[in-house]
Symmetry: C2
Subunit: 323 residues, 2 copies
Amino acid sequence: MKIFLTGALGVNGLSVLRELLEAGDEILATDIATDQPLPADIAKNIHFEPLDVTDGEAVDTSVRNFKPDAIVHLAAIVSLDVPVALTYRVNALGTINILEAARRNSVGRVVYTSSRAVFGQFDGDFGPPNYRPVPETFRREAWPGAFGPYSASKIMSEDAGTQFAERYGFEFTALRFASIYGPGKTLRHGAVGVHSRIVEPAVRGESVTVARGGDQIDDMVYIKDIAQALRKAAHMKVAPKPAYNIGSGVGSTLTQFAEAVRKTLPDADIHIGGGLDHLGVVDRYGIFDNSAATRDFGYQPEYDLTSGVADYVKSLKEDALLS
Amino acid sequence: MKIFLTGALGVNGLSVLRELLEAGDEILATDIATDQPLPADIAKNIHFEPLDVTDGEAVDTSVRNFKPDAIVHLAAIVSLDVPVALTYRVNALGTINILEAARRNSVGRVVYTSSRAVFGQFDGDFGPPNYRPVPETFRREAWPGAFGPYSASKIMSEDAGTQFAERYGFEFTALRFASIYGPGKTLRHGAVGVHSRIVEPAVRGESVTVARGGDQIDDMVYIKDIAQALRKAAHMKVAPKPAYNIGSGVGSTLTQFAEAVRKTLPDADIHIGGGLDHLGVVDRYGIFDNSAATRDFGYQPEYDLTSGVADYVKSLKEDALLS
């Protein structure tokens, strides 16, 4: 398959590129950033083009020239330290530009990276202490505070994709990711990447303290399972649902995450305070019900905390990119 | 007050301009359309500039030059016969451009025209047969079908306004309008304007048939009450809530609307079929609870169906615009 990828140099890009290459796809990778080189094993096997998804004409031209079978749209702003308008222009308008380019150039499928940020507070049975796995039908709601623009633009993009698909007759699938961990979060997402703030100093032999949140149950999913889900969604023939939850399906705490780090790095000096909500800006945690993704396109998380962290530490030593 | 108005030549623009002029405001009126002249009584008392709200730099320049105290943002695409991308670019990106211009140029207040289209189906007590008035806290949800892009872009815009206001410290107020009737709908909104499809042929002495929907309870609010609400919201010192419902507060049927037309035009030949949902594309009707708008900025609907229709008929004879 010919796959057009946006956000190729973002957190998920590298893993997705490797997944798609292993599947034998022909790839045009795009990104607005050119600050990091692609690893040589990837760079020699793909095409790369700089692309700003807010530029509708550039997106259209790039898609028209490559003639992809599918677009995998990862490009988005996650950082909280940017103007509100920029988050909307990239995340909302950028998605409209991608969808419009798909329509104009008869691309058969668009796979969109959505997020747990579309969901309202996981309350009732879905919150503590029961943490019943959250299905796709759970209510969507823009988050309060700093994550609000990210959240609202993801909700709008899910709706827009569904509407384009219905009106113009192509396949649209949004994958809503749980809390992703893996290399690249520190560079691209800053303080939001709490797992990286634990693993990466530990690899460097530095001590780590996270002041609070060690008791918070969350669904932590390794970046290579995200890549698996994106590959399978891109290759799916027909998407029965417009949106799928993608997580580990398991609830874990940061204290358990730190224990997993110690299995790979026995000398790691990690201190995790107790309580809930480590970041103080995200108050929405829970466990994802992955059963629809398993049923419709065979998604099966392959990494638990121990194997995920071990692979993460190994990747940090191998890839210059995003460490 | 200095007020910057977008969508001045749209359905609500003319009524709003007259309201603001009567309140003594200095007005810069903008619109992308220049197909209709403003009535002379308005044109000589305001400034007018052509403006495309999707052009962020043009919006910023125009706001910077005029230095308004408040922006009243009416510009939006309502028609269903346009590309999905255009609805999003005008209604979602256009609002971001307005909000960003307000931020950059220290405008103290933005009043946004939202819609009943942000609400999900009025079900339970809020639907038939009880039609309990719907409060602002009712759940929001993108509509299915052709109204979806309008609906989703209004939801996103409400959220974006609230987030800009919170982050940058200006006042944002969204007014969610019920089913508006009045002159201008035929030209600007096409078949969506069912009330115009009854009144305007009747004025011309033509017979009118609406095949179905005569029993549907809906909240029909006259365009001059919309203008009242926008004026009062623009002049409000502090807005306690980010969004307010604006309707008549009364449930009426199209059959009752036709009776109101016959009071002004006794010879009108109008046939309204029974049943619900006249348009077949909108399945969400109910009654709006206006009490928050009344409490916080003194909104009081002044028109009932009889006086609203009488004024509508009178306006059609007076204004060349939008008839």
